[in-house]
Amino acid sequence: MQTDAIDAGHAPKEPHLRFQFSDSARQFHAAKFGMWLFLGQEVMFFSALFCAYAYYRNQFPDAFFRASQHLNTTFGLLETIDLLTSSLTVALAIHFIRQGKRGLTSVMLIITIACAFIFLVMHGHEYATEFHEGLLPGRFFHPEAHLEGPALPMESAMFFTCYFFLTVLHSIHVLIGIGVLSVVLAFNMRGKYSQAYYTHVEVGGLYWHLVDLIWIFLFPLLYLVT
């Protein structure tokens, strides 16, 4: 293996430093930049759905307004607060590991993951209600007669199509985020991170913030249509 011969003149390497990088700082910067690029593509991933939503809301503003009334706005608000809190806790997790306080980092990560689970449970409850009320996409759209207010027009199905695509995709990302943060938590509890090396925490945190960012836009666009 040639790694010993590489850069023999430099200071002894840290155990986490990979051979293709000349120093830790560069490797850390590369990891963050790579994650930002990935987040950029996630934004584009959602952008096609936002485009479809905008396209149809522009064409059927009234149908979208009436459909949105049937979403549980209180839950939406609570989910927003939940995700914002999880963003705070994951930012604090990074803050604490930068100081080498692994225990507090673990606590913050656990709270973040708990918030994520709460979000999924609440949203699952919303889905169950919508299923029960027949507020489903496309050919499954059969609004129940007992729903309050005037009957929903056919185009409201398009609102629910967009709603389900956007929120299901978002929830999949929440699930992935739970996975990522759990792995980071497990590694942290095994002592892998320190003040000198905490790349995974930083990068995992960035991913989690994106999940929150998308919800910041989903909440007003889906729940607060006027």
Binding site: I6, A30, L37, L49, A63, P137, A157, F165, L169
Partner: protein
Amino acid sequence: MSLAVVPEGSPLQAAHEEPDYIRAKSGVLSWVLTLDHKRIALLYLGTVTVTFFLGGIFALALRTELLVPEHGIMDAMTYNRMFTLHGVTMVFFFMIPAIPGVFGNFFIPLMIGAHDVAFPRLNLTSYYLYLFAVCLGLWGMIHGGTDTGWTFYTPYSTTTTTAVLPILAAAFVNGFSSILTGVNFIVTIHTLRAEGMHWMRLPLFVWGMYGTSVIQVLATPVIGITLALAGVEHFLGTGIFDPARGGDPILFQHLFWFYSHPAVYIMVLPAFSVASELIGAFTRKPLVGYKMIALSTFGIAFVGFLAWGHHLFTSGQSVVDAGVFGFLSMLIGIFTSIKVFNWVGSMYKAAIHMTTPFLYALGFLFLTVFGGMTGVALATISLDVHWQDTYFVVAHFHFIMAGAVVLMFLGGLHYWFPKMFGKTYPEGWGMIAATLVILGFIGTFTPQFFLGNEGMPRRYYSYPAHFQWLHVTSTIFAYILFMGLLLTLIYLVVALINGPRASNNPWGAPQYEWDTPSPPPEHNFSATPVINRDPYEYVGQEIIENAN
């Protein structure tokens, strides 16, 4: 003068004592689980060769059917599947991954003085995602494939009973391979450049790969979600593109082409960047207009995102949008022309070393210029109304896709063959095959411009008898093209097994990668190099036909 400046001993000397990357480790697992960017490049090379020939066989099948105006060797439904699978295989499984996956992977680290890419494990993941996508596609093909055209337009793709879902899934997975490769290359180019490798010393191949990677990262997710939307609609009837439920099929076209137009630049920018390398190597003088060629890459990348509506001119898009897109589409011609003029200017008063790669570069220039000009013509809405969905469009994009991408893939393969494998291929056979390939391309697609202008629609199984002679001409040359490609495969494989040993720099080329041994050692350099010259600056390199 060597690439690196190290106090004691030349790194090349030390590198010569190491085994090269092919011999460094042995065993199937060392290849299947390799993290070496050069071995990953060879994995890609094997797979893209298979997909290229598979796509070619679909093409030959449909061209054979088109020898006669009515039923030839297959029925109409099968014909529809042939052109669909030809398009899907060629676009998603060959043209998008080929040059980045093979030459990007192999040469970006070598060209910037790095030991590997930034994320080697991600690199291997990209390859396996691509391989998985190919397998999914093959599985779909075994189940009869689909007949929607590679563009999957709704409402047909959401209602067809053919095996469209596995093909959609294959394209979706392939997208992720593409995205991760793009992320890897961008981070590598930013963070792993050796000392002295400032941005304006980067080889143009690296600039081209950088531009390609930006498009890959930003555009590919859109096709992913669009194909997913179409797939879910097919499966569940969600109606997002179904007019009966308030949906709009044109939305599918907008979202599809928002990716697929930049996608053609994902295919073509690497080809342009290979062309820059070939012209830099075989004109035996510094390339003209380095900065303009480098920066025009970003012009193409950016404006490429603004032009997608030209695929919707006759689909029902508004006239206002059509006008805007038509104008924006023409702007791309400016940046492409900058490159073409600089390449031609580089050949002026040059001491040209005529070789197979350079012959491919000449064929590339011809086909790209005519393909590009017909593109500008098609961007004119009033003309496009006549040509849309005819063979004129087919000829236009094949001139570019085949003429640029395939010719530069082959040109790059011949040019870098000695570096990658340490062997030389037979130059005589190379020239013969290149002639067959280039003439084959020109002969296959030139008649199609006339066919299209006369009104022959694309994707049509039967046609009026007076078109037959043009179709027959096109098919004959398609077979000539295929023979040239088959010949290429044969002599390259023979050279791989049995060819004469190559020197480090058989072409006497000035670029950085030629300073390493042929083939390079596993970690490329034994000490991190320091770059002290420009990439196209000749410092006395000599052409060495064969190794000692």
